[in-house]
Symmetry: C2
Subunit: 194 residues, 2 copies
């Protein structure tokens, strides 16, 4: 029989993932991964037909991690949690966020899934369900742009890092105002609440 397996496919993926998390796909090479793993390049090619296949796997993991962030219970509002989660993910995984936006063809689909979940969420809200679909759609688009902008600027190092509390605050205040504007303009609400 054969010698014991030393490096599992999970080991390979984790080494690759941690490499990309640190520095994006700049140094994503079979030899660098092997080095990180303390092996030759053989285990990499034993589990993956090509580097491209491994790359896809890494991007998939990054997507799952992002998704996981958006599901964490930062607050009681799912709406707020998704936005906060995306920004937290971008901040704590700057390279992954950039790689995901730039290299993942599924990024578009992922964000559309977010939008669908949120749209259903708005539907459940007592006040917001009174809004015409068009207005609810606009709230979503506005908050989507804002959230993505914040996440993107932080991941690029252009905007400074924030504490979790600060992120929640920024997202909450913006969300509140965007929603209030929509409600007031639709005649559902009269003025701003403190």
């Amino acid at each position: 029989m054969a010698p014991k397996t030393i490096f599992s496919s999970e080991d390979v993926i984790q080494a690759a993932f941690s490499l990309v998390k640190e520095s994006g796909f700049k140094d994503f090479t079979a030899r660098r991964i092997a080095e990180k793993l303390g092996s030759s390049t053989a285990p990499v090619y034993s589990y993956f037909k090509s580097m491209d296949e491994l790359k896809r796997e890494v991007l998939l993991r990054a997507e799952h991690l992002a998704l996981e962030y958006t599901k964490r219970p930062y607050t009681r509002s799912i709406f707020l949690n998704m936005g906060t989660g995306l920004v937290m993910f971008a901040q704590e995984n700057k390279e992954l966020f950039k790689a995901l936006i730039l290299e993942s063809p599924e990024a578009k689909q992922l964000l559309e899934e977010f939008a669908d979940i949120l749209y259903a969420e708005l539907d459940k809200d007592e006040l917001l369900s009174l809004l015409p679909a068009k207005n609810r759609r606009e709230i979503l688009i506005r908050m989507g742009m804002f959230t993505h902008g914040l996440a993107s600027l932080i991941s690029a190092g252009i905007y400074k890092d924030l504490s979790k509390k600060e992120i929640i605050n920024i997202m909450y205040n913006m969300g509140k105002d965007v929603i209030d504007v929509a409600l007031i303009k639709a005649g559902i609400k009269k003025n701003f609440t403190a």
Copy 2:
């Protein structure tokens, strides 16, 4: 004397720029640039000590182009023009926008310059100058995030392309609401105007 110069440094830069504009820095190699130019790689190395030096030049040109976009008179409001310009630039130069955000250390500085110009602009406005500095700053941050988010999503192909008119409209409506909220919350304005 020497033979006539066939390829100027401007030719080299333009070939490099057009290459990056088409497909980012993925195929930014001396040989691809020479091919585009219809020359050997010699002219490239005669004007630039290294590919890195040429890369910096290309990024500089991209910055200038972005700046030029933000100075165009889309509307009568400088505020609106800068936002619209950035989104237009990102949409019409997707690869350049991404490269700029990702590879240019000066991107941060560039956006800070934008912010300064806009801050001075808010200062000149009759109503907005009544706002406390903190509130004006918040308007800027909110619009900055929103604008960058829209630009970034379009450049990544995640959000659909828009006509100039649509971009102006989106930016105008968002800006108006963000400003109105600030004015109302500060007690300077009573309610939304149509």
